[in-house]
Amino acid sequence: MDSVLNTAKQEPVWHSNKKIILLLAVLTLFLVIFPLLGPSSFYLHLMIMIFMYAVMSQSWNIIAGLSGQISLGHGLFFGVGAYTSSFLFVEYGVTPWIGIFVGMFFSAAIAVLIGIPMLRLSGHYFAIATLLIGISFQIVFQRWELVGAASGLWIPLTEGSSWFALQFHDSKVPYYYIFLVVFLLCYLFVWRLNASKIGFRLRAVRDDYQAALSLGINVSQYKILAYAISAVVMAPMGSLFAQYILIVDPDRMFNLEISIMVLLMTVLGGIGNIWGPLLGVAILIPISEYSRIYLGGTGGAVDLIFYGLILMLICIFRPDGLISLFPKHVLARERQR
């Protein structure tokens, strides 16, 4: 038996599936060279939206998939990120690069402040509370004169493209690379988080909080930590999206649809798995964008009909999400070997 123990101790701490790593490397390389292939502006936009929602869904996956708390108002951190960087730039000329980090800080602070009372709730009660908090933020910002109330903030246009102001008027390519870098950093961070002591403990809280308590885990503290981490991941997307469209207003930035979309995408792809959100986003965002092209405006809400239909099918046939279609050993990520 000792020999088995010795063998076990010599196994690598993390199993790495070489095929998957190679696939990821090829995919990353493709994403890096994609703009060089001369795609149209639409395809660049499509990819930017995929990167953005992949990060936002991953943010929701941290609170819901990793710690087991269903948040229905997670879009509020998107709005906080957007408003913080935009306000600092509009009012004080602070570069959005700094604004992004300030937005992350504010989002974390808000997550902690509202998390302390709210995470005493659990299950449906927590979900309802987050929904109402999300809506209340929209109402507050609609009436808050300092940040432009219902009209929001119009980010002053620079004469030409500017890295300082994070504005690019001639091409979407710089935006593409900025969103890509944030997307890659986010997934790398979440992969590391999953494999860390904090990640282990969060999953323990999710699976059985009483057992987690018996293993010295302060359950409330870890739930708040997960909420804060997911807020920090969500906020930069708000800041970057604000720079992308150069306008922030409460209806757009605190839209309930954002919270619902990230939930749908994660559930579709597979909640609790790092690749789940990406898979869901890669399917739903193209549907959404193509329906907008062919049906105009908001896509005639056809995308929402698709979402509903897909979600029903997933709930019936694949409750663990589309990621469960892949053999488990292929996706042996966090699994200790």
Binding site: M1, D2, V4, L5, A8, K9, V13, A195, S196, K197, F200, R201, R203, A204, D207, D208, Q210, A211, A212, L213, S214, L215, G216, I217, N218, V219, G272, R335, Q336, R337
Partner: protein, 240 residues
């Protein structure tokens, strides 16, 4: 040397007295067996000691410190581990991951926590199953998993709630041997057990409860002959 001292502990749920005025000591290195019929208050007693339920009266002193008002995680960090009557494995994690979470109480380094977990898994004879998901294990193996996970926090006192309950006959001797090995490794143990043969075999002292009250405390032989225990729990063989 006394490691745990329970003093006049009481807890009621509505009009039901789950535990009433219970006092006893556990000495370091010994096994205390806890017996009693269903509803006697055995699991409630564990919940009171480990902070899952707050006592209405009395106190619990562990290694000289009053822990009556502490949260379960704080109590765990102080060195009291426990298993549950209704098993609570982290079902979607492997056996190794389950035990590693226990190891993180004393070790933050992933590699060291993993090595520590592997040694404990080897101790409970499940090393071959280390990469199996908890949900894939049999009941007996999951009992061992819970023991391993509780051991991983390096407890000074381990509370085991019906370790041999719900497992098949062939599995029981292995679990009993494991408990003896645990004791030999220096861990103090309190175990709730319905199998009277096992409790008599492994215990240094036995606490008998009935209807939330202590009805006897002493050496196994004394408990076996205690009339109150016989009347309420052990029963007699009718030879007439």
């Amino acid at each position: 040397m006394t490691i745990l001292s329970v003093e006049n502990l009481g807890r009621s749920f509505g009009g039901i007295r789950a535990n009433h005025d219970i006092s006893f000591d556990i000495n370091e290195g010994e096994i205390l067996g806890i017996i009693g019929p269903n509803g006697a208050g055995k699991s409630t007693l564990f919940d009171l000691i480990t902070g899952y339920t707050k006592a209405d009266s009395g106190k619990v002193v562990f290694a000289g410190q009053d822990i009556s008002a502490l949260r379960p995680d704080k109590i765990s960090n102080l060195g009291i581990g426990r298993t549950f009557q209704k098993l609570k494995p982290f079902a979607d994690m492997t056996l190794l991951e389950n035990v590693m979470i226990g190891s993180f109480v004393r070790e933050s380094n992933i590699k060291k926590a993993r090595d520590n977990a592997l040694e404990i898994i080897d101790f409970v004879d499940l090393i071959e199953k280390r990469h199996h998901f908890a949900r894939e294990l049999s009941t007996g193996q999951r009992k061992r998993l819970e023991l391993a996970r509780a051991m991983a926090i390096k407890p000074r006192l381990l509370l085991m709630d019906e370790v041999t309950g719900g497992v098949d006959q062939k599995t029981i001797p292995g679990l009993v041997a494991l408990i003896k090995r645990l004791k030999a490794s220096g861990v103090t143990i309190a175990t709730i057990e319905h199998n009277i043969n096992i409790i008599m075999e492994i215990s240094d002292n036995i606490l008998a409860l009935d209807q939330g009250q202590k009805i006897a405390f002493g050496k196994p032989k004394d408990i076996q002959n205690n009339q109150k225990v016989i009347d309420s729990y052990l029963g007699t063989v009718d030879v007439a």
